[in-house]
Symmetry: C2
Subunit: 109 residues, 2 copies
DNA sequence: GCAAGTATTCAGTGTTACTATGTACCAGTA
DNA sequence: TACTGGTACATAGTAACACTGAATACTTGC
């Protein structure tokens, strides 16, 4: 992946994953596959798992272990109340940033 | 500044500064003041200067020392050809990311 | 002399995504 | 049995970047 994208994902990837989980619960492998499908072609699996551990430790998600037909048990994550609150704040931060940057693109200066 | 904003600025602040410089040349103190004016209330001065050193080392900007009426000489930065190219790529990367995130916000899933 | 505004620099810290690898479970097949 | 491949998670070490908290330097005005 481009170096620019790598740096830009810092701070946004977390929000992306939380946004995914706000729609429905999911497990790591699934999230990684979905991201790749969306064009984030080379997001490392390790990255997603590390992120999930992080947001779990912060108490933004609830976790449930679910047996899989093929392979080891899945850790299914779902957004809890605190996570939803955090996601709200993510959207506010994102909106602010996106607006300024969009202005810079069109307005120059 | 919020922790989320701090993390989100990684990778984007560089593009923001390059975009500013694409409009006209400027020096560090001026850029910091402008950013604060735009609502990036607590961007540390040190951050901007470190960034300027970085993009100078990468050869994205030209530098000229200009005496100031008040205070030490200014280092005035201006975007060169390589910088313009890099900025182009920044816009592409940003657009890609912004589109996916916007989809997530409106589409859910 | 001293404070305040202008202007730059730098050492040390925390957070985050990446690389690379390892573990574990199951199905199919030779 | 042994081997391959897909599914699923975990982790140690690295690089990049913004922040904190200084220090330095030049000028004007009290």
């Amino acid at each position: 992946m481009g170096k620019q994208m790598t740096e830009m994902l810092k701070g946004t990837l977390e929000g992306i994953v939380l946004a995914i989980l706000s729609g429905r619960s999911a497990y790591g492998y699934e999230i990684t596959a979905w991201l790749r499908d969306q064009g984030f072609s080379d997001i490392a699996e390790g990255t997603v798992y590390a992120l999930l551990v992080r947001i779990e430790k912060r108490g933004l998600v609830d976790v449930e272990k679910v047996p899989s037909e093929k392979g080891p048990p899945r850790k299914v994550y779902s957004l809890n109340a605190q996570g939803r609150e955090y996601l709200e704040e993510f959207w506010r931060t994102w909106s602010f940033l996106a607006e300024r940057i969009e202005q810079l693109r069109t307005g120059g200066r």
